[in-house]
Amino acid sequence: MTDAALPAAAATQAYELDSPARRARRRLFKRKAAVFGLVVISAFILLAALAPLVVPYDPIATSWSLVRKPPTAAHWFGTDELGRDILSRVVYGARASLMAGLISVAIALGIGVPLGLLAGYRGGFVDALISRITDAMLACPFLILAIALAAFLGPSLGNAMIAIGISATPIFIRLTRGQVLSVKAEDYVEAARALGNPPWRIAFSHILPNILPSLLVQATLSIAAAIIAEAALSFLGLGQQPPAPSWGSMLNAAQRFLTQAPWMAIWPGLAIFLVVLSLNLLGDGLRDALDPRQR
């Protein structure tokens, strides 16, 4: 609306300054919910990065005199069944969760996008083969596939990330393929082909940049799903191994002491909720901001 209302002269002047990315950023910052998400996520990233500097106690130091103490001035979030400070464990848990989210989605992107580009650009038998494998993976519910993979790979945070990453891959294959099919017939791709560019260069330097916005949106939402999945795997004992803190395994311990120490259940759950909520808000905001049809 505002863009169209600008006088023609100002519009041509502003053209250099107003790149699509900048316009999208402006639209994103107009949405309060998305800004809230961005702020909360940034705060968690900062906390995770600076964990050793901000936590009041060693997250794995046990103390028999402090077993299951409710929140106090010394221990804001209380202590757990081994007398460890819950605040420190929640802050350190952010490291495991955020890393798991980022790395597993990076794995999914790293496998899914090239395969999707290949399927969409090549078509024919290659496309049919990749598409059927994608269907097969999508037929196994995300978390069940992740649990099965993690079970066979063996319990560890690294294996949990691999399991979640592989389980999240088919979504990216399907999304990339669909996007490639829709931009393949565009004039600029046609022009790049006419100039004699090899297929891989057309795929990576002409098609990929144009489908980045939708990949970015999906990646944000997938990180949220991956963080929940990591917490679920850790809750089941298939992720981060004790005594290293993770939100999922903290909730597992909390359930066992729910009657005696209910505060143990609040904080790790709240942390997962806040991070996932923020990523969902940010993802929705990005979708609206990056979609040129939305104004």
């Binding site: 097969a136 099965a148 089941l236 909730l251 909520l277 808000l281």
Partner: protein, 324 residues
């Protein structure tokens, strides 16, 4: 009339044939995927599968049973032969056939899942309709907040919070356990209402979002404008004209949320100690009962694919435009 019915039949048959032709390779890759899981086991699979057992005779028996001394493609053929005849192998722990274990646990999850879907429909659809009709009002914001909460809350956390509130603080509902419906329906409902709500919560949020966008689209359509112009009351316009058309795709969406449902059931059943399908896979993982893990994933994927087919066919049947 007769000719039309015959044409419809032919189109349906074509459609079915096409969809089934697509399913066969998908099922093949599902089987390959699930079979390959056991290649991920670190070290000698027979040794890993034996677990604590160190008796060479037992290990040798496992090796024989799973044809582990044969090349991998041969192992696959043996495995597939078993699966196709309904033989998923047997549990290493309690020596029961995997098929029987699954048949035993499935009804429990079916009850839990149906209750969850029911709850999701009862919350999600009215919330979606209200927020679309009252777009931009406090109702709309409230419903959207509810959907965000539903999508972002890990269900195992919600389960723990509910147990704390309703079982520990108020003492209204049992914290865990399961009673079959046929044995005592009151106790059965009391034991499953909390887990069903936990399971339905996320799905109702997804349903709400879809209902809202479908309703918004329909409310802008020409026939709704015509209905309003005819002087029909807003109530009739929304309930009779808009809702019917908006809800057709939503009903089939219910089938597609099966994956969410089964994924959710794993943790929900774990938290509430409900001996269903989800608990079966978790116990199998803990016991390193790999044949059970594979069987559960295989059955899940097959059910998912079949339900998708049914949903597609149902969609074509209820949508006259697709019938040609």
């Amino acid at each position: 009339m007769l000719r039309r019915a015959r044409d419809t039949g032919r189109i349906m048959l074509n459609f079915l044939a096409h969809r089934i032709a697509q399913i066969v390779p998908t099922l093949f890759f599902v089987s390959v995927l699930i079979f390959s899981l056991q290649q991920l086991l670190p070290g000698d699979p027979a040794l890993v599968m034996a677990g604590e057992e160190r008796d060479p005779a037992v290990i040798e028996q496992i090796r024989q049973q799973y044809k582990l001394d044969q090349p991998i493609p041969v192992q696959y053929v043996y495995w597939l032969k078993g699966v196709l005849t309904g033989n998923f192998g047997e549990s290493l722990r309690n020596k029961m056939p995997v098929r029987e274990l699954i048949a035993q646990k499935l009804p429990v999850t079916l009850q839990l899942g149906s209750m969850a879907i029911l709850i999701a429909f009862f919350i999600g659809i009215p919330a979606g309709i209200i927020s679309a009709v009252k777009k931009g009002t406090a109702w709309d914001y409230g419903a959207n907040l509810f959907a965000l909460w539903g999508i972002s809350t890990p269900n195992f956390w919600l389960g723990i919070l509910l147990i704390f509130l309703f079982s520990i603080k108020l003492g209204w509902l049992p914290a865990s356990g399961y009673v079959p419906l046929t044995e005592n329906w009151r106790a059965s409902l009391a034991a499953t209402i909390m887990p069903a709500f936990v399971l339905g919560n996320a799905i109702s949020a997804i349903l709400m979002r879809h209902t809202r966008s479908a309703m918004l689209q329909v409310l802008e359509s020409d026939y709704v404008r015509t209905a309003r112009a005819k002087g029909l009351s807003e109530r009739v316009v929304i309930l009779k004209h808009a809702m019917r058309n908006a809800l057709t795709p939503i009903i089939t969406l219910g089938a597609l949320e099966l994956g969410t449902l089964l994924s959710g059931a794993v943790l929900t059943e774990q938290i509430f100690s409900i001996p269903g399908f989800g608990k079966l896979i978790v116990d199998a993982v803990f016991n390193r009962d790999y044949a059970v893990v594979q069987g559960v994933v295989l059955v899940t994927a097959t059910v998912y694919i079949t339900l998708n087919l049914v949903a597609d066919v149902a969609y074509v049947l209820v949508n006259p435009r697709l019938r040609g």
